[in-house]
C-alpha cells in the first residue's frame, strides 16, 4: 500500500487483453487448420506456398499475420510474468522485463518479416 506511483500496466494489459481476445476467437481454429489438419494432409493445397504468400503480400493480410504473431506473444508475456511472480520465481522487475522484452523483440522481428524482408 501507500505507493501511489502510476503503474504502466495499462499499456501491457491492453496488449495482453487484445492478444487474449484474438487468441480466444481465432487460435483454436487456426491451430487446428495450420498445425494439425494441414500437416495431416486433410486440407489438400489450401496452404500452398502461392496462396499463403499471396495472403501475406496483401496489405491487410500482412497486418493480420503480424497481429496473429505479436499480440498472443504479449498476452503470453503478461501471463508468464505474473505467473512467475505467483510462483515466486526470480525478481519481479527482472522477470517482467525479460518477458515483455521478448514480446517486444518478436513484435519487431515479425513486423520486419512482414514488411521489410
Amino acid at each position: 500500500m501507500k505507493s501511489d506511483r502510476r503503474s504502466n500496466e495499462p499499456l501491457t494489459w491492453s496488449l495482453f487483453a487484445a492478444g487474449g481476445l484474438l487468441a480466444a476467437f481465432v487460435t483454436p481454429a487456426l491451430l487446428l487448420a495450420t498445425a494439425l489438419l494441414a500437416p495431416l494432409g486433410v486440407l489438400e493445397d489450401g496452404l500452398s506456398f502461392d496462396r499463403v504468400r499471396a495472403f501475406l503480400d496483401h496489405p491487410l493480410g500482412g497486418l493480420i499475420l503480424w497481429a496473429l504473431i505479436a499480440l498472443p506473444l504479449w498476452h503470453a508475456a503478461h501471463r508468464l510474468s505474473h505467473g512467475l511472480r505467483d510462483l515466486q520465481v526470480g525478481a519481479p522487475r527482472l522477470t517482467s522485463a525479460l518477458c515483455y522484452g521478448f514480446a517486444f523483440v518478436i513484435t519487431l522481428y515479425s513486423g520486419y518479416l512482414v514488411w521489410f524482408a
Binding site: 500500500m1 501507500k2 505507493s3 501511489d4 506511483r5 502510476r6 503503474s7 500496466e9 495499462p10 499499456l11 494489459w13 491492453s14 505474473h82 511472480r85 505467483d86 515466486q88
Partner: protein
Amino acid sequence: MNQTIVIEVQRYRPEQDPHPWWQSFELDYLPEMSVLDALHRIKDRHDSGLAYRWSCRMAICGSCGLMVDGVPRLGCKTFLRDYYPNSIRLGPLAHFPIERDLIVDLRDFVDKLAAVKPYLIRAAQDEQPSEPRRQTPTQLARFLPFAQCISCGLCYAACPEYGLDNRFFGPAALALLHRYNRDSRDQGRAERLPVMNSEDGVWGCTFVGYCSQVCPKGVDPAAAINQGKITSLIDYVRHLVGLSPARSGPDATREAEG
C-alpha cells in the same frame, strides 16, 4: 446414543505456543447447529480459553470469518449438516497474521478500506441539505451490489495475490472504491484514481476470481476490480494525451442539483 461430530480447531496462544497447533473436540451433533454454535459449545464446555470473534450471528456484522476445511466462510452461516459425518477443520482466516486462535489481525485490511475515500465527494459540499437528492432505482442498482460488503475479509483470505504481497489493496477495498465511483451522486472519481492506478491498486489483481466465489454477500469484487482496470486504462490514455482526470464517470447524474 447421540450422534457426534469431530471439530478440529487451530490454536495459537501467543503467550504460550511457539506455533499454531491443532486441537480436536468431539461434540454432540445437531443438524441446525452452525460452526459458530459449535465454537460456543467448545468454549462453554471444553475450553474456555478458545478465542474467536462473533456478534450478530445472522451474517451481517462480518465478525466471524474463518477457514472451514480451508475455505473462507462465515462461521454463523456455515452449518454442521453440510459436513456431517465428516470432521471439520477450523482455522483462522488465511493471509492475515494470527493474533490468537481464530482471531487474526485485521488492521491492514481496515486501513485499506479507509484509504480508498469511501464517501461521497462533491464538487461543492452542501452544508444544510434541505431535501434528499433524486436517484432512480436504475441508478441505485448500478452500485447497490457493491455496497453490500460487510467487511468480513473472506475475500482477502481467498485472494492469493494479497497473500503473496499484502501491499495490494485487495478485493473489498477496491470494490468499495468502485461502489462510490458508480454512485450517481458522486463526483470524486479523480480523487480515487491515484489508488486505482497504482501497482497495488487494480493492477495488483490477476483475476483469480476466488474473491467473488467466497463472498457471502454477492459483492463480486472481481468484477469491480476488473471494471476498474478499464477506468484506470482510460485515465492512462487521458494522461498520455495530456487531459486531466475525469471527475466522475458515466454513472453520475449531470443535472444541476442543490
